[in-house]
């Protein structure tokens, strides 16, 4: 009898193995980040054969960003570094000090982006990203003022619309120039 119990104790109890396995499975399920597709969402304007009317805009309401084939930025006639673009765009749209040369009202502000066919795609995405970031930050500010929360995609549609009505995203892209060398 004593001999028999000794032999039994030699066998490892495997009944908890499944639990351990499931624990590991759940751990990996929770911690693994699946490679996700992310990107900057853009809505293109519809194509029209007729040339757009050169609508007259007050120059104070237009924030012109030009990018040349050497990936340099010209913002309202000044050579600017990309790191300063976001702040300048924000200041232009919101115009907190009511300056005469900046936008009359956020709803009237227009950002005009023009690049060259030789501009690097990377630079273009960076510039677009900064301009979008400027708007996102302004939306956050408006959202905090109105609802006391950050602006995000999951908030109710009505709130989003209200925020975006106050500061609408207006970014017009002009036909690119053709000076630089294309690869």
């Amino acid at each position: 009898m004593a001999k028999n119990t000794r032999r039994m104790s030699n066998e490892i109890n495997a009944s908890s193995m499944a639990d351990i396995a499931f624990l590991l499975l759940i751990f990996f399920l929770v911690t693994t980040t699946i490679a996700q597709d992310k990107g900057i969402q853009v809505l293109l304007p519809p194509w029209s054969e007729v040339e757009p009317d050169p609508t007259k805009l007050k120059s104070r309401n237009v924030f012109a960003v030009l990018v040349n084939a050497d990936d340099q930025l010209l913002v309202r006639g000044e050579l600017t570094d990309i790191s300063a673009l976001r702040e300048r765009a924000k200041e232009f749209i919101s115009n907190p000090t009511r300056r005469e040369d900046l936008a009359e009202d956020p709803s009237k502000a227009i950002i005009s982006l023009k690049n060259d066919r030789g501009t690097k795609y990377d630079t273009y995405v960076q510039v677009y990203n900064e301009l979008k970031a400027a708007y996102e930050e302004l939306w956050d500010e408006v959202s905090y003022r109105l609802y006391g929360r950050e602006y995000d995609e999951d908030m109710p549609q009505a709130m989003k619309l209200a925020v975006r009505q106050e500061v609408p995203f207006v970014l017009s892209e002009a036909e690119p120039t053709n000076f630089g060398e294309e690869q």
Partner: protein, 160 residues
């Protein structure tokens, strides 16, 4: 004979394999979840730029992927070294964009129920070093084909 059977009885018992199915299933589930299916192998080099203002692509069946980049070394004698488009597994040169894009979009639309057609968008996965010329041609072609929802694919940048 008795000596024999006694010896066999004293040997170490076999390791229990009862948990082996669990481990196998665990591995199976793990790989099922972590694997990302790629519908076509890339013939071009694509290294998307980094950005911060990103939107997640929610429903992959509604997205058609347009890759832009320079052909990899083994295809360079076939397609040259200047950037080209890859639509599915088809490589398209710059001068054929206008013709191929509507075809590609129609082919993708067939796989999507009609009620969801307005939600389709194009994900542009372009290499950062490509110049805007080819992108502009693609944008014009997309606008002409009335595919206005696009997404410039980018990698998230770690930002404090």
């Amino acid at each position: 004979m008795a000596k024999f059977s006694k010896k066999r009885g004293k040997g170490t018992p076999a390791i229990s394999t009862a948990s082996l199915p669990d481990i196998i299933f665990m591995l199976l589930f793990f790989f099922m979840v972590a694997t990302v299916m790629r519908d076509a192998s890339l013939k071009i080099n694509v290294n998307t730029p980094v950005a911060t203002e990103l939107t997640k692509i929610k429903d992959k069946s509604l997205v058609n992927n347009i890759y832009i980049g320079k052909p990899v070394a083994q295809y360079q004698n076939l397609y040259g070294t200047s950037p080209i488009l890859q639509l599915g597994d088809k490589c398209v040169r710059k001068d054929a964009i206008e013709r191929e894009i509507p075809l590609f979009l129609e082919q993708h639309k067939l796989k999507v129920p009609e009620s969801r057609h307005p939600m389709i968008y194009s994900s542009i996965k372009a290499d950062g070093k490509v110049t805007m010329g080819i992108i502009q041609d693609l944008k014009t072609a997309l606008r002409k084909a009335n595919q206005l929802k696009i997404n410039y694919s980018a990698k998230p940048r770690a930002e404090g």
